[in-house]
């Protein structure tokens, strides 16, 4: 279907249909995001205007002031950042090594298969299950309400993900280049470091951004493990504005909108690698 010769007019029609679809998809995708942003600039009374105010008529920065100056949302953002970067770094470094090992080396007793599967299965554990034991665990080590506890807890699901992603990625890189490096006198480790790793950059970018997104947005574990301003993350701060009596829509919108900004910026920085890395190496490239 990719090389059929078609009449010019049919081609134009298809092109128009495609651009039309892209436009609709863009609108559907971005409208809710726009709506968060628009609401964050409205007074509470205007958020509930009938008919809705499509564009804030009477814009205000009140909610930003409330969230980021009066309430510690900046602090929450910092916590989220440290936790996300910490766990992503651990997951990507060790996951890349393990993924490489599982992709390239042979082990006795079918270890490769069993270990690969076991690693993947750890990610299937519903987080809800591990909350009580994790709570007991961190309580025992006096680590409740620390960012370190969150980093450790998140690593439990980021590490298997990173390992699995990088394993598939390395499996699809041609092994010949590394062999050539070893013939040229590099060590096995050196071949990994100097040859395989640079080639795997798109995979690394995609893995890192997924780990970042998941940890930046994680809710359930942070809800149970953290109680203090020094450890709570953005999603918990946002949930905290749904109080018994009132929901602070404006502040939630302001915080929610700002929460996606760093990730979006990061995504744009690495976008060159990202979309390619997204194939998860599952495709022979």
């Amino acid at each position: 279907m990719r090389f059929k010769k078609r009449s010019r007019s049919r081609e134009t029609l298809l092109r128009l249909a495609a651009y039309g679809t892209i436009l609709v998809a863009l609108i559907l995708t971005l409208f809710p995001v726009y709506w968060i942003a628009a609401n964050s600039f409205k007074f509470d009374i205007d958020i509930f205007a009938v008919p809705p105010e499509w564009v804030p008529r009477n814009p205000t920065l009140k909610h930003y002031e409330q969230a980021f100056i009066e309430r510690p949302f900046l602090r929450y953002a910092l916590n989220s950042f440290l936790v996300a970067v910490g766990t992503t770094a651990i997951a990507v470094i060790f996951g890349t090594m393990a993924g490489y090992a599982l992709a390239r080396f042979t082990y006795p007793w079918q270890w490769r298969k069993h270990v690969s599967f076991w690693i993947l299965s750890t990610r299937m554990m519903p987080p809800i299950v591990s909350i009580i034991p994790l709570y007991l665990f961190f309580n025992y080590f006096d680590m409740l309400n620390t960012k370190a506890a969150l980093i450790i807890a998140y690593t439990a699901f980021n590490l298997p993900f990173a390992t699995w992603m990088m394993k598939s990625y390395f499996q699809d890189l041609p092994v010949e280049l590394e062999e050539a490096a070893i013939v040229d006198g590099d060590t096995r480790w050196g071949a990994f470091l100097h040859v395989a790793l640079p080639l795997a950059r798109p995979g690394l970018a995609a893995t890192a951004i997924f780990c970042l997104i998941i940890s930046w947005n994680e809710f359930l574990l942070a809800l149970v493990i953290t109680l203090t301003e020094q450890s709570q993350t953005l999603p918990i701060g946002i949930a905290g504005r749904v109080t018994q009596y009132t929901t602070y829509w404006g502040e939630i919108s302001a915080a929610g909108f700002m929460a996606c900004v760093p990730i979006v910026i990061f995504a744009f920085i690495v976008q060159k690698h990202l979309v390619r890395g997204l194939s998860l190496g599952a495709v022979k490239g």
């Binding site: 995708t29 090594m97 393990a98 909350i131 034991p133 480790w189 979006v264």
Partner: protein
């Protein structure tokens, strides 16, 4: 950082040589050890808790009850409702996301390939915190003030209660989830399409195969690994859906959106019955593992 030209055996002292020989284990060890440390305690706890009756009173000892927590699953109406809802959500949401994602990718592949910027923009929904997504959709669905009903009203369609309607509540949750995760599938499919080899298509073209045949005989088999990974990741996440339901409906109305994660959360923390919660969790874990093993075998993801 530059590769040295020294011969393998000349590098470093005995430690480096030992490390080089044991590299296959050394590279795997940190990840395995970390994961063991992080999962062994929760797993043991879960197995142990599942056969006990645990009182919220710390002065009372754990009481061994054998398989009682598991037999309770059979007669627990709320569990069965949650199981059914989770199944509906997973099947419908993942199928719709997949069909939309694949369809859009096929349609737009040619036209969007160079528009990296656009592709990144389309990723924005999945970067938002699910909790903010849930709260935003709550505002959109609001029956009196929400945008959705305003649009329905303008179009002359009957307004709905959406998340507050028995028959539409699950649909509303699915729509929000589809909105957030279709881009993920779409981008994966695009990446898959981008790496399709050209030669087989040229050959098929010469044989006069129709576009439809090419799609079924070439595109789908080539995409199979990407499709498999995408479905696997989405199903695993759909089975643990929590934030959206927690905020949008709390499991209501009339229990129509109560999913397993929410039920486990309630049993474990609201009703303070961690033993029974562990039993349900084990069941969920078992189902997940069996399903994905079967799926991976079928899709030949593991050798």
């Amino acid at each position: 950082m530059k590769g040295t030209s020294a011969a393998p055996l000349e590098i470093g002292g005995w430690f480096e040589q030992w490390a080089e020989r044991r590299l296959r284990y050394l590279m795997l060890a940190p990840a395995v050890l970390i994961l063991l440390a992080l999962t062994i305690f929760p797993s043991l706890y879960m197995f142990y808790a599942a056969v006990h009756r645990i009182s919220p009173n710390p002065d009372l000892p754990w009481q061994f009850v054998g398989a009682a927590n598991f037999t309770r699953l059979l007669s627990d109406g709320q569990f069965q409702v949650a199981l059914r809802n989770t199944a509906i959500f997973t099947v419908v949401a993942v199928s719709v996301e997949f069909l939309f994602g694949l369809g859009l990718a096929l349609l737009l592949d040619k036209y969007i390939r160079r528009l990296t910027f656009l592709k990144t923009v389309l990723m924005v929904p999945m970067m938002l915190p699910p909790i903010a997504v849930a709260i935003t959709w709550k505002l959109i669905y609001e029956p009196q003030f929400g945008v959705l009903n305003e649009i329905m009203f303008r179009l002359g369609l009957p307004t709905q209660a959406w998340a507050g309607d028995v028959d539409l509540a699950m649909f509303s949750i699915i729509v929000a989830d589809v909105w957030q995760w279709t881009p993920f599938i779409f981008l994966l499919m695009l990446a898959g399409l981008a790496s399709l080899p050209i030669e087989p298509y040229e050959a098929a073209e010469l044989d006069g195969a129709s576009s439809w045949r090419q799609f079924w005989d070439l595109t789908i088999p080539f995409l199979k690994p990407v499709i498999a990974i995408a479905l696997l990741l989405r199903v695993m996440d759909a089975l643990r859906l929590f934030d959206l339901v927690f905020i949008l409906t709390g499991g209501g109305p009339a229990d129509r959106t109560k999913v397993l994660s929410l039920y486990i959360y309630q049993v474990a923390y609201r009703f303070a019955d961690p033993g029974y919660a562990a039993a349900i969790s084990l069941f969920v874990l078992l189902v997940t593992i069996v399903l994905s093993t079967w799926f991976m075998k079928r899709m030949r993801l593991v050798e």
